[in-house]
Amino acid sequence: MTTPILWALTLTAMAISGWRFWVRFRPLLAARPAGRTDRIADRLSFMVGDIGLHRRLLRFSYSGILHALIFSSFLVLFTAILESFGSGLFPGFSLTAIGGETWIALLQNIFAVVITIGLGMAIYHRFVIRPERFEGSKTRDATIIYVLATPIVITMILEASARLAIDGQGSAWRPVSTLFMYPMMALGITGHAAEQAEGVFYWAHILAILAFLVYIPGSKHRHMFTAGPNIFFRPLTPKGQLPAPAPTPGEDTPTTVQAYRDFTWKDLLDTMSCTECGRCQSVCPAHAQGKPLSPKKLIMNLRDGYLTDQGLMDSPDHAMPIVGGTIQPETLWSCTTCRACMEVCPVHIEHVPKIVNLRRSLVEEGEVEPLLQSALTNFQSQGNSYGKPAKQRARWTKGLSYKIKDARKEPVDILWFVGDFASFDPRAQKLSFLVAELLGRAGVDVGILYDGERNSGNDVRRAGDEGLFEMLAMHNIEQLEVCEFNRIMTTDPHSLNALKSEYPALGAAFDVVHYSELFLELIKADRLRINPGQAGRVTYHDPCYLGRYNGIFDAPRDVIRALGHELIEMPRNRDNSFCCGAGGGRIFMEDSPGGERTSESRIREAMELGDIDTFVVACPKDVVMYSAAVQALGVEDRIAVRDLAELITETVETEERVAQ
């Protein structure tokens, strides 16, 4: 009698659950291609660290640990689910032969405790600690899961307790169930009554599991099924390489993302994998500044929009717009593309490429704010955001103690790609001057492109003007390809990212180094001699496009230490560095009043270290951003923003001193 009922219940629940999954995932089949099936072995091996070892989850230790407790318990307790359904559906099925009554039973009992602790921690976290990152997440959904998961565990334990109570004989393999057997017997549940109780708990257990199964597809807890694939299908291209607009199947020219069906299937899978954990929100500089962007809500809104869009499959003519629908333009323009969200997301959701894709659709329509428009127009006409003629690009070299070679006219060892800020901003120009003098002193064979250089296009691409990026990039590539050089050096992490990570996609691969790396080499090779003795206590800010995007964390630190300084780290350092607010084209846009600027919050973070007088940067944009922040905070007398080049210049032995 039990078997047919269980079959009917199980099949019905699976059908409902399957249908609920199908309606949500069917549109993925019609979405644009993403090309994520290469390097299968790499993809699988990454999953070991990210799922098995909880590498990213444990960065937030409390919630990482509670997740590990619940996750491992789910794996162990799956054996109990197998036993319950196996024995019910196929009479005679049992795990006894492989230890179902011994060590498996013991594990189940232990992990029943483990999961209870995990769930308790989760409930305490969500309802008592209540971190800000949960703001905007769906509490009801989370609560329902706690309510559904708890009875599954309780009924599993009590079912065994009742079974033991039949004979009143405890079991060393089931300590927890034995513990609950005694109160049960005290209530008179033994013998036949216990047999009946066992049946009741069995069915309660079955029903709780099936309810969970039916509920899951509409809940953020479907990440149990989607997180694995989402991590597997992660991008393996360089972090600094944005995907180009994806082509529409059957069409030659890629079009921008205007409706949900213009996304790739991976973009849609991302939205369906979001667990609303809010780690991204907690590290987002735009959110911290009170701007209308939370990476978490962006993904949630895209998901909600995607799930309500009827145009995806059945009536393509009525596709719902994304921007102006669930997503507002201000949200998209708030992003600095700093990548902190992507770096911290446990399921590897790709926030930044979605934002850039949607910006592309705005730019294509000409919908850009006035300041950005004028910067982009300057890029179009002059190749730099300042609107200055290319002929003036090398003006900062006037007054150097030597003439920098024109790399277009003679071979050089190091081709210095100077970049816009380092060429045109008065403060950054002085640093370029120092770098040039240091290179001269070290006898480096260096050349620049003079008026042949254009902006690298890194931030133009992130602002959403793909065509303009391609024009700028192709111009630079044409210039570089006729030059003879061994390596490219730049002081600007944004240029570095374009040259190192973006241009290879356009067929141009160069060996690119940051000036921190080159100067470290020169110091180690004794081509620049250090005169220690002016040591100070300093802190260092990782530029997003140097650190998070291109993994260059150590070279600037090694230089600072080689100069004899004591380096004190800020709490947010290396891949958890906090953006200055200038990236992704933000520096060209209006900084509307809101909360505290991220650059100012960063300076305060440095000052809270106490006894720090120097804030070291290694990016021309950082020099501009943080100098302004120090002024705005009125703390010029307490902390100085200094570029790596300044530190080296004041510590290095001059030729005269060497001669003495």
């Binding site: 730019v363 294509e364 000409g366 919908e367 850009v368 006035p370 428009q373 982009l376 127009t377 179009q380 006409s381 002059q382 609107g387 200055k388 003629p389 290319a390 002929k391 003036q392 133009v460 003007d465 793909e466 065509g467 303009l468 990026f469 391609e470 024009m471």
Partner: protein, 254 residues
């Protein structure tokens, strides 16, 4: 309906300008060029009228250098056709007045219903181009216009006066308009549209007419002296006040 928009390039004025050896012109060796902001407005208004009425728009330019790129940008902005009048590479400093007969000749060939151009330009600070063309073509002409609406054989124009006063003027077409502001700010054209048009060949025409004669000539040009005008006063309030008093006495102001 056919609208002609006349576009001119200006030196980028946010730059430090230098006077050339003759002392009668800026040194054009190092400067950048940009679309005259008023012509930018005229271009935008032409495209807005095209979108509103389905009119055809032709953009015209007469530049020694940079004209091709300028007209490709105009195509990306939405004009239908472009025409570059060749003036010779050596003529880098033509005034609008010198170019007026060339535009007249081209316009007689195109026979547009309406000519839009910027009310002023750095080479035309008196706003001569529109009136000159009106006179040469013997068409009605209105300058300082901030709104254009097209009707049946007429255009309704809003002309700006000082003190926030404006007049509504109706003119018979064809006519020439010196535009001050379009009804919407100039739009942004995505790089992808520009990129697609980079390979387009811009049609050129050799002018038959001579340059117009300038009535006035620059005799001497000088960069305004901007140095040494300010002194930063530092110190506490008393020290600053004392210094201010000193300066006022020094200059004989008190």
């Amino acid at each position: 309906m056919h609208i002609a928009a006349i576009l001119r390039l200006n030196p980028v004025l946010t730059e430090e300008l230098e006077v050339d050896e003759d002392g009668r012109d800026i040194d054009r060796e190092w400067i950048g060029l940009e679309l005259n902001p008023f012509d930018d407005q005229a271009l935008e208004q032409a495209v807005l009228l095209k979108e509103a009425t389905g009119a055809k728009v032709t953009a015209l330019a007469a530049e020694a250098e940079g004209g091709e790129r300028l007209l490709k940008t105009a195509l990306a902005r939405g004009v239908d056709e472009v025409l570059l009048i060749e003036v010779g590479e050596e003529n880098v400093q033509l005034s609008s007045r010198a170019r007026a007969p060339l535009f007249q000749e081209a316009l007689e060939g195109l026979a547009p219903d309406l000519v839009l151009t910027g009310v002023l330009s750095t080479d035309d600070i008196y706003g001569e181009l529109a009136p000159q063309l009106g006179a040469l073509l013997d068409w009605p002409q209105v300058s300082a216009v901030s709104n254009v609406a097209l009707g049946d054989g007429v255009a309704t124009l809003q002309q700006e006066y000082s003190g926030g006063i404006s007049a509504r003027i109706e003119v018979q077409l064809p006519a020439v308009v010196g535009l001050q502001a379009a009804t919407q700010p100039p739009r942004y054209v995505a790089g992808s549209k520009l990129r697609d048009l980079l390979k387009v060949e811009v049609p050129t025409v050799e002018p038959g007419a001579d340059f117009g004669a300038d009535l006035a000539d620059a005799t001497e040009l000088e960069v305004p002296d901007t140095s040494g005008g300010a002194e930063m006063l530092t110190g506490d309030a008393e020290a600053v006040a004392a210094r201010i008093h000193e300066i006022l006495v020094e200059r004989g102001l008190v």
